[in-house]
């Protein structure tokens, strides 16, 4: 950019010419012109502000004047009410009606010691009674007797002024007073007191009981005096302002600064505002007429149709006077503030920048691995910056200690890793032995399993045989039973034989008898009969023998049957026991198989362990390398102190001890 435009050339060649000089001056002017414009704008702005401020104050003045008038009216009405009530209280006793001047003043001052500001006050009471004592009162009265800004007088029925011949009462007013039954304010009236013309605002309170009105307490507020009061109070606000009060005919009745205004009509010096506009309540906007600025404020009284107008004015020039002085003071203030800012910046920069720079240097050294950093803590205050410095220093101290610890740990770790590698290899050897042992156990278990299986088979066979034997015994028992039955049958049959024998015997006897009866002829037959008898007897004997033998046989058979029967449960029990043995053998077989599989698993685990221990050995080597690497890395941090030397010494000693241990182990192994 610079080369394209060639600013240096332009500077050197162009501005050195005469035309260039002129243009340069213009350019300087171009810089100052906006500055001037800004100043002008600033001037206009400040002037506007001042005028606005003055107008507002003028309005405030008008409102304040109005409020003062209203307050005075209120106060006077209150005082009159107090007086009227006092009179009404004493009305029943006519002897006490004769108040002296001092009595009344005492009543007034005790109730409102500083309230009566301006005006006249009087009591217009029971005119008939006053007629009788008229003369006495008249003699004692002195009208130069004033109390503060208040005076009092008593008016007779004839409406003649007592205290001042020139004081003229409006006759209509007293007629109105007789009619009223409550306190009220009347329209302002023109009056002359002590040769001075006043515009007075009458405030009247009736003295009455429940039946009729006896008289009244009245007060004339001299409006002329009010403007003085207002200006006195507002002089600090605006000392160049003046206040005029105009009555309902737009005639000036009071002027604070210039008495010439009094008696003039407003229209004589105000052409822009009509009389109707003057009494427009809304018209509070300041307006200029001639060299003055005016604000009007209408004053209304409760129960009175006539209003008054407060007219505040001030010279228009005065509204913006002293503007340059004010602007100059503002500029001075700005300069002072600017200087103050610069001073503060320098001081603060000094207090923050220096320690920060120190810390930066320290941190740079830290970053280079130098942990021997000391911060200069001479200029220590109690700010966040110094706190930061202290904290940083603590951090560096801690870091130094930790690096120291890490270095120690690295050395220890190296030693531990070596030890670990040795242990891992030992463990691998142990694992191999374990594996072979477990294989031996496994083969032994398998043999045991086969023998248990043989046992189980044998037990099963024995069980079958025992069962068969039990069956055979049962069958034998059955046979014995049948034998007994047969023998009993034989016994029965022998009974038959016995019977036959008996009958044969009898037949033989009878045959013998028959033969005997026949005599010699029957001799041979009797021999036969005798033979038959002998045979029968032999048969009987044989039968008896058979019978006894059979009985013996039955007995034998029964006893053998019983023995067999006794044998059966034993055989059954044997069978059951053998069955149990077979079942237990099977269970044993299963258990043995499980044990065998468990041993197989154990073997697998042992194999895994062997592999793992080898891996562990490798890991130990690796961690040893890592520890050495860590030591190397940590040596980056250098700080010279006795700890570092100690560590180096310890490391060397540790390595020497390790070497010695290895040698001893090797020697041991060789011996073994």
């Amino acid at each position: 950019m610079r080369k394209i435009l060639n600013i240096d050339a332009i500077k050197n060649q162009f501005f050195s010419t005469k035309i260039g000089t002129i243009i340069r001056r213009w350019m300087v002017g171009a810089v100052f012109f906006p500055l001037v414009m800004i100043l002008l704008f600033f001037y206009g702005y400040v002037k506007d502000l001042m005028v606005q401020n003055s107008s507002a104050r003028l309005v405030q003045l008008s409102v304040a004047s109005k409020n003062v008038i209203a307050r005075v009216v209120n106060k006077n009405m209150n005082i009159c009410s107090v007086l009227a009530n006092t009179f009404a209280l004493y009305h029943s006793d006519t002897s006490k009606v004769n108040f002296s001047r001092e009595d009344i003043i005492r009543i007034l001052t005790s109730n409102y010691p500083d309230s009566i500001s301006c005006g006249l006050m009087g009591v217009y009471y029971d005119w008939k009674a006053f007629d009788a004592e008229d003369e006495n009162l008249r003699e004692n009265s002195k009208y130069e007797k004033w109390y503060g800004r208040m005076c009092w007088f008593v008016a007779s029925q004839e409406n003649k002024p007592i205290l001042d011949k020139n004081f003229v009462f409006d006759t209509n007013l007293f007629d109105d007073v007789k009619k009223i039954s409550k306190a009220r304010v009347f329209s302002p009236i023109e009056t002359v007191v002590f040769g001075k013309r006043y515009s007075a605002l009458p405030v009247v309170v009736p003295i009455k009981d429940s039946e009729m009105v006896y008289g009244c307490v009245f007060s004339y507020i001299f409006i002329n005096e009010l403007t003085d009061v207002v200006l006195q109070k507002k002089s600090k606000a605006y000392n160049q302002a003046s206040v005029l009060i105009a009555d309902r005919n737009a005639q000036i009745v009071s002027s604070s600064s210039n008495p010439d205004f009094v008696g003039k009509k407003v229209g004589e010096f105000l052409t822009k505002v009509s009389q109707a506009d003057l009494f427009n309540y809304e018209n509070r906007v300041p307006f200029s007429e001639g060299e003055m600025t005016f604000v009007t404020e209408k004053v209304d009284f409760p129960g009175v149709s006539d209003s008054m107008v407060v007219l505040s004015y001030v010279p228009s020039k005065a509204m913006s006077s002293g503007i340059f002085k004010k602007m100059f003071s503002i500029l001075i203030l700005c300069c002072v503030l600017f200087l103050l800012v610069i001073v503060i910046s320098v001081v603060v920069g000094q207090r923050i920048g220096t320690p920060v720079k120190k810390m930066l240097d320290g941190v740079k050294r830290l970053s280079a691995g130098n942990l021997n950093v000391n911060f200069d803590l001479k200029s220590r205050g109690n700010t966040e910056i110094t706190d930061l410095m202290v904290t940083l220093e603590d951090f560096v101290k801690n870091q130094r200690r930790r690096v120291n610890q890490v270095k120690k740990s690295a050395v220890n770790m190296n030693v531990a890793a070596k030890e670990l590698a040795r242990s891992a290899s030992t463990m691998a050897g142990g694992s191999n032995e374990q594996a072979s042992a477990s294989e031996q156990v496994s083969s032994a278990m398998q043999e045991m399993v086969s023998s248990i299986t043989t046992n189980a088979e044998n037990a099963h066979k024995t069980e079958v045989i025992a069962t068969q034997a039990a069956d055979s015994v049962l069958r034998a028992n059955e046979s014995v039973r049948q034998t007994v039955d047969f023998m009993k049958e034989i016994t029965d049959k022998i009974g038959i034989i016995n019977e036959i024998v008996g009958k044969t015997d009898l037949l033989a006897v009878n045959a013998a008898i028959e033969a005997a009866r026949v005599g010699e002829l029957g001799k041979g037959f009797s021999v036969v009969a005798a033979e038959i008898r002998k045979l029968a007897e032999k048969s009987q004997l044989a039968a008896q023998e058979i019978d006894s033998l059979t009985e013996k046989g039955v007995k034998q058979a029964e006893s053998s049957g019983e023995l067999l029967i006794q044998l059966v449960p034993e055989m059954t029990k044997t069978s059951e026991l053998v069955h149990d043995i077979a079942a237990l053998s099977i269970e044993q077989n299963n258990n043995a198989v499980q044990v065998n599989s468990a041993i197989q698993q154990l073997n697998d685990i042992i194999q895994q362990n062997a592999a793992t221990s080898e891996e562990l050995s490798a890991s130990a080597d690796e961690s040893q390398a890592q520890a050495e690497f860590l030591s190397k890395v940590m040596s980056y941090y250098n700080f010279e102190n006795e700890n570092g030397n100690e560590i180096l010494r310890l490391t060397r000693e540790a390595e020497a001890i390790l070497k010695r241990i290895d040698e001893l182990k090797l020697a041991n192994n060789k011996k073994l």
């Binding site: 009898l506 006897v509 013998a512 008898i513 033969a515 005997a516 009866r517 005599g519 010699e520």
Partner: protein, 158 residues
């Protein structure tokens, strides 16, 4: 009748209360087994009842009662027999068929007349009028009973 042909007489010996007694075989009709005895009311004590012998009703006499022997129960009832007799053959009006109980029948014995001895009085268990003599056979002494005398009582004429 047999006496007329030889000097031997056949006797049927039997047991009463363990003692051997004998009737003449000529008086004996048959020896039968013990059978059912029908009791008859209001009969004398020596009549045990009546039996049916081949359709003929015969009184069953207890000889022991007549002869004044005590009833001895020590014998085997299976061997008890009833001896059917025919008495009074010599006189037709006295002919009588009766039956009597015997504990057991022993044998038919031929006895020579000369061997028969009279019974000494002092040894008599039975009245002499009911006996005819005594003889020895195989070491035992057998008393011969007079059936006519015994059973005539039964006849009711005595």
């Amino acid at each position: 009748m047999s006496e007329t042909y030889s000097n031997t007489i056949s006797y049927l010996s039997f047991y009463l209360n363990g003692e051997l007694y004998a009737f003449k075989v000529s008086d004996v009709i048959e020896v039968i087994e013990l059978q059912k005895v029908t009791l008859i009311p209001k009969t004398p004590p020596h009549i045990l009842g009546v039996i049916n012998f081949r359709g003929e009703i015969l009184p069953l006499i207890d000889v022991r009662k007549i002869c004044g022997l005590k009833t001895d129960k020590n014998f085997d009832e299976n061997q008890s027999v009833i001896i059917v007799l025919e008495t009074g053959k010599d006189t037709p009006e006295n002919l009588l068929t009766v039956s009597c109980m015997a504990d057991a029948v022993s044998d038919v014995i031929d006895v020579k007349m000369a061997d028969i001895m009279s019974i000494p009085d002092f040894d008599a268990k039975i009245k002499a009028e009911y006996t005819e003599g005594i003889f020895e056979h195989n070491g035992d002494y057998i008393t011969i009973l007079n059936s006519s005398a015994i059973f005539s009582i039964n006849n009711g004429k005595k």
